[in-house]
Symmetry: C2
Subunit: 255 residues, 2 copies
């Protein structure tokens, strides 16, 4: 039985809690958070507390808090030489104070309130200061997920950067599509099937091979037509830059 304390009450804390609860070899013995109402999510099935000085004994302490709060939260923990991990993509492992054994447990996924996530498909990046702690984190991660990666802080930073491109920026492009539809009296639903297929395709074909569209074909006529339709300055610039970048990527192959 692995005993776990979760520090924090936000989206990731809730999703991790739900995932841990599904496994009989894991026990969340306590959830700590400053936000009393937010603790209600947890307090039917585990101990909760707003006082970070009242720590339960556990094998792993998970700081599921925002990047900016990681240091402060970990510093106030009245424990020493315990395994404490954060869940951030972009923070170094050594961003935590050194009076505990440090580690990282980073699920590569976007978590939203009310949307169930099946953790067995969620890649988890782990890191620790010593092999025994790494083995413990590997045990925890493989209980949840079929995709566990031991990576350095530097590699993890690149995973997080790549995640911004494929998640945050992609979602923004979905928003541009939605806005273009709205302004022209069309429902955004008209793009749903295309969005789903575009995402599904790259599970089988590499994106470099899957690329299509006017810029891929160096189809100057269609590009000019599209630019003429884009009155919003940001959209015009995004279309220009991404088209130019696609043309440069495939330029040798076209020429």
């Amino acid at each position: 039985m692995t005993k776990i304390v979760i520090l924090g009450t936000g989206n990731i804390a809730q999703h991790l809690f739900d995932a841990f609860e599904e496994h009989s070899n894991l026990e969340v013995v306590q959830v700590l958070g400053r936000n009393d109402p937010a603790l209600e999510y947890f307090n039917k099935s585990t101990e909760t507390d707003t006082n970070f000085g009242e720590l339960a004994d556990a094998d792993i302490y998970i700081a599921a808090v925002s990047d900016d709060s990681i240091y402060a939260v970990c510093e106030q923990l009245k424990i020493t030489n315990k395994l404490v991990v954060h869940c951030s993509g972009s923070m170094e492992m050594t961003a935590m104070p050194s009076h505990n054994r440090r580690g990282v447990f980073y699920p590569v996924q976007t978590f939203s309130k009310g949307r169930h996530v099946d953790f067995k498909d969620v890649p988890i990046c782990i890191e620790a200061e010593n092999d025994r702690d790494l083995a413990a984190l590997n045990g925890l991660a493989t209980t949840l997920s079929c995709h566990v990666y031991t990576v350095t802080s530097k590699q993890r930073g690149h995973v997080h950067l790549a995640a911004v491109f494929v998640n945050n920026f992609t979602n923004y492009l979905y928003g541009v599509g939605a806005e273009i539809c709205r302004k022209n009296g069309l429902p955004f639903d008209i793009l749903h099937s295309l969005i789903a297929e575009t995402a599904a395709k790259i599970q089988e074909v590499s994106p470099i091979k899957a690329q299509t569209g006017p810029a891929r074909r160096a189809d100057k006529g269609t590009i000019a037509k599209h630019l003429a339709l884009l009155q919003q300055k940001n959209y015009f610039e995004i279309y220009s830059l991404l088209s130019r970048s696609i043309e440069e990527t495939y330029g040798d192959k076209n020429g």
Copy 2:
């Protein structure tokens, strides 16, 4: 029984052919193409010909050819006053010669060789010069799909533009993510679950509400960290522009 002639042998021609073949009230009586080997895909189950002068009689003639070829292909057809449609997102209906009744049958999807597409989920945009032809196209489209939209050429141009953002540009961002992974010794698989969830989420939550990430939070620290990691000029510019655009979109809400 609706009799159909397909002009062209490429991806869209093949996918439309496969979709039509599934319905007993539709009959593809002929497929025409200049490319003899490409006709093999069709010639086990229908007539094929390389001579565009040898046209079979049909209710609807579908020009499933590239934008640049639409006019030339339609002009050489030795028929008059027949319903001839193209499948392009960006070409006006009137881009076809006027000796036949003109229409448009535009499936809003990306088609790849060897990937099955379930047409019942594919939105189809239709347009025609008169109500009777529009009804015929509506009959054909609703046989295939649950999502049929009657739109003007102008609206369709905007659908196509939006499709470039959510499909071509999104795929390019997947490629950037793949490249960042590759350069840092990480498999692209590490992003698959995130890509699938990002695409799935907007079927339920609007992209404007689903937006997360450093730019959404105006998290200058993480943005600066990410920009410092981006040595490739295009990637740096894309990250900067999209982050700035997201910050501007949400600026009022942050401030």
